[in-house]
Subunit: 286 residues, 2 copies
């Protein structure tokens, strides 16, 4: 039984409830972050905290009082749940007004809802899937236009994961105007020679915290980085492909829409970046 | 204090809660309907029930056991809350699995969440706003691609309502590829001579229950109906403009982006359609 955090209280997970009038429930008016935990420590916490604040600001969502203390809440959840390896999920919504209304509630009367819970994933860093890679399919990107804001409007990514499953694949990359935007819950990359190619930042994709770290490590390791769009065809002909996210770190992609990428096995660049990312992240973990 | 319905129980509204693991809260994996109540009776209930079932099917969401009994639940809520005039809001989500995951939960283990509550709006039918009309602004349509499914992904429509408010208007019409799709929570219409023009059905707009009824009444009243796209410029030059929805019925639009529509006052077609809709709906109410 997990202990979770709901609006200032640490509760058993089966008692963790929110009002049916919460705007997260009624209108998807909420944002979230997922922070990985390795060796009982938080990975890239500052990056997630900064992005969370940006998401709140982009939606003109009031900052909850607990915002400056979120590091403490994360650490307390790690402690209460003996979390060694896994993730901490955090969600903030515009709160639960007295009634449902499209108009934002008065921030003086309605305080944001803050929820955090742990997800224990022993073996996250040593995930055997990283040794064989994942298969992905391409699907149309049908999401809303502001994917740079990490909102809980995750129905389409969830449907995409199910489409991948139905096709015998592990995940899906979304395509808009002929170019890959990103994966259902990760950023997408290809490798050509010594160059790593990943879509440029914009409203079309999430500004991945792991993406930023991996690109920094890649540059430090003297690799070329090109931030630009690419197509599925270009990805299928690349030497390597991979994804990054807070919970998969760097994960090789070996098959795209049934076509093997490179040798059909994880390539050296993805493997090396995964190694560097885990090594450096563990050093910087707090 | 309202009595609301949550998963088979009738509860005081302040005790109506759902799990933080509900996919409606975590992933906007839910659909909804709003049914109007006049004279204590339900308006267009069958239309809402049919669309609800379609929304569930489009998302491959399991049907809750209560689905065949929803009319009784609606009536019980009307009775328990002495609801004379207003709305009943209904939401169904894919339920609360043990943990958060993009993959849909096993429908055997996770039952859908069903929530209903009343909203009392005395004077809904005699809304004085119908006599003066509303002002709207146009905004870019940034929603996801499947607006024909009535999901709770309402963050952008909610933001649109706030943009309208900030601009001194009442609501916003959304524009995609140069053409009006619909309002933030209503369908959009213009009138030219004896012809009512409203966007054709497709994935781009909600298939309004009130829309279907109003178009039927219009045809019965020997008016021409053209279901096609129109632009904001065409709307500004039209004789009349109006919106329809379950809670506004037929509501005249008198100003679009600062330009008066027609005489700048509600026109005869919208007034007549509102009258017919209310009259016929009251007759058919159950």
């Amino acid at each position: 039984m997990r202990t979770v955090y709901v609006n200032g209280e640490y509760l058993p997970e089966n008692e963790a409830k929110i009002s049916i009038f919460d705007r997260g429930f009624l209108m998807a008016d909420g944002v979230y972050e997922v922070t990985s935990v390795l060796d009982g420590k938080l990975i890239d916490f500052d990056g997630h905290a900064k992005r969370l604040e940006r998401s709140l600001n982009e939606l003109e969502m009031p900052h909850p009082d607990v915002l400056p203390d979120l590091l403490e809440v994360h650490r307390e959840l790690v402690r209460l749940n003996d979390l060694e390896e896994g993730m901490i999920y955090l969600q903030i919504t515009r709160g639960a007004p007295d009634d449902r209304d499209f108009v934002f509630p008065d921030p003086e009367a309605t305080k944001p809802t803050v929820v955090l819970f742990t997800q224990s994933k022993p073996g996250l860093a040593d995930n055997p899937t990283a040794k064989k890679g994942i298969k992905i399919i391409s699907i149309e990107d049908q999401r809303w236009a502001r994917r740079d804001i990490k909102t809980v409007q995750l129905l389409y990514p969830s449907m995409g994961k199910m489409m991948a499953k139905a096709a015998g694949a592990d995940d899906a990359w979304m395509v808009e105007d002929g170019a890959v935007t990103e994966g259902t819950s990760n950023n997408a990359y290809i490798v050509k020679g010594n160059t790593i190619i990943t879509r440029h930042l914009g409203n079309e994709i999430l500004h991945g915290i792991t993406r930023a770290a991996v690109l920094r490590f890649a540059r430090e390791a003297q690799m070329q980085v090109e931030e630009r769009s690419f197509t599925i065809a270009e990805a299928q002909e690349a030497d390597e492909a991979f994804i990054t996210s807070a919970s998969t770190f760097v994960m090789p992609v070996v098959d795209i829409d049934g076509a093997s990428v490179g040798t059909g096995a994880p390539g050296p660049v993805a493997a090396r970046l995964r190694e560097i990312y885990l090594e450096e992240s563990r050093k910087l973990a707090i």
